[in-house]
Symmetry: C2
Subunit: 232 residues, 2 copies
């Protein structure tokens, strides 16, 4: 039997590159996405396309209504911030922070991995370009791993479930280059926090700015369309 | 402003006693329950009654479909085991184990606490009567606390959210006595894994057996009805 991995997938370029890495390492992909009341629901469509592209053995989209808690621009009605330019990428914890989001996502991945008897979880977190999010840091992931080892039957029985974050210390440009080496079709991916009604990226939110800067630094063309002229 | 706590509530006697403890300590209760495809959906009705009894500032019931993962008697169609008698309470990890359940529940509690700017979470886990569940052990909770301190804006800003498990080292009889001291109406609570269609406890599943033994050892009468004669 092929070894199994649960891969957290947002349909973005980071998690898609991670899925390509897991596939290259020989894992059967069990893709896990969340519909958590985010504005950018097009990411779920992207996650489905990506799971299909990597012949995922399964793709589960869990609906969790974080809006019942309120508290973030990504899940409420406050406007998504638009920095003035590519240099306007914020410092500190951004207002788009969703409390405990990676903890919730990894917890579900852990539950599914244990059910599948999968020994591996892959997550596309990145401490370089998202240093404002506390739950994207290596020390956070190490603490989650220790907790997971104690939380699960697998951990207790000395078959701990390993959490892999292969992008954690990579820049966006390095991620894009690694994805290109692995043949990732970035045209399938979605990054924008505030797309048009038909899903076209705004080009101006923090996520679009990071993506555009990453492609520029990687010396590559971003295959997705934007609402604005990005060649200027 | 009254200090706020998130209290995980199953509508059972443990979490209800914990809610009474939190209320006695002066917290405004933010009760959090889950509809996770469990058989015992009557526990959600019980959790609503209990939240009302403790004048909860809010009661959120989150729906999460763990059945998409399969894997436990509590969320699938395999029969709930009925031990032969009160001495039949199992050793080892029971088949009613739900993978990563407390990790998922605590992760959502953490998200809500951070959104509310609440500094405290209460959970009714118990290592004495449920030693078969890895995620009911003190070392698990300590690891979750360390992870939570790194996961959240509150933790990063040195206002860590404290996770309290006041029952962790108590027997069921001790919990019942503590609840009685605090005036808990155990008639509001629901424990059975396999109730009748109208919600009457079976009296024979592991959860009923633990509850009945607890009341017997506490020298108290259990106010809820059972499908079987429990006076024999």
């Amino acid at each position: 039997m092929e070894k199994r991995a649960v891969v957290l997938s947002s349909g973005g370029l980071d998690s898609t590159t991670v899925m390509a890495i897991a596939r290259r390492e020989g894992f059967a992909i069990h893709s896990l996405s969340f519909d958590y009341g985010q504005r950018h629901r097009f990411e779920i469509d992207a996650a489905r396309r990506v799971a299909a592209a990597y012949s995922a053995a399964a793709h589960v989209v869990l609906t969790i209504d974080l809006r019942q808690f309120g508290g973030s621009a990504l899940t409420s009605d406050t406007p998504v911030p638009k920095p003035a330019g590519a240099d306007g990428i914020g410092l500190g914890i951004p207002v788009t922070y969703v409390p405990a989001r990676n903890t919730i996502f990894l917890s579900f991945a852990l539950a599914w991995a244990e059910t599948l008897q999968a020994g591996d979880i892959f997550i596309g977190v990145n401490a370089m370009d998202y240093s404002g999010y506390p739950d994207c840091r290596p020390e956070y992931l190490a603490a989650f791993q220790r907790m997971a080892d104690l939380a699960t039957r697998a951990g207790v029985e000395d078959r701990p479930i390993a959490i892999h974050a292969p992008l954690i210390r990579m820049t966006k440009a390095e991620i894009i280059r690694r994805g290109m080496e692995l043949g990732v079709d970035f045209g399938l991916t979605h990054s924008c926090y505030d797309p048009s009604p038909t899903g076209v990226a705004c080009g101006r939110c923090e996520s679009c700015l990071l993506r555009r800067r990453g492609f520029r630094e990687a010396g590559a063309a971003d295959p997705i369309p934007y609402q604005i002229d990005t060649t200027a």
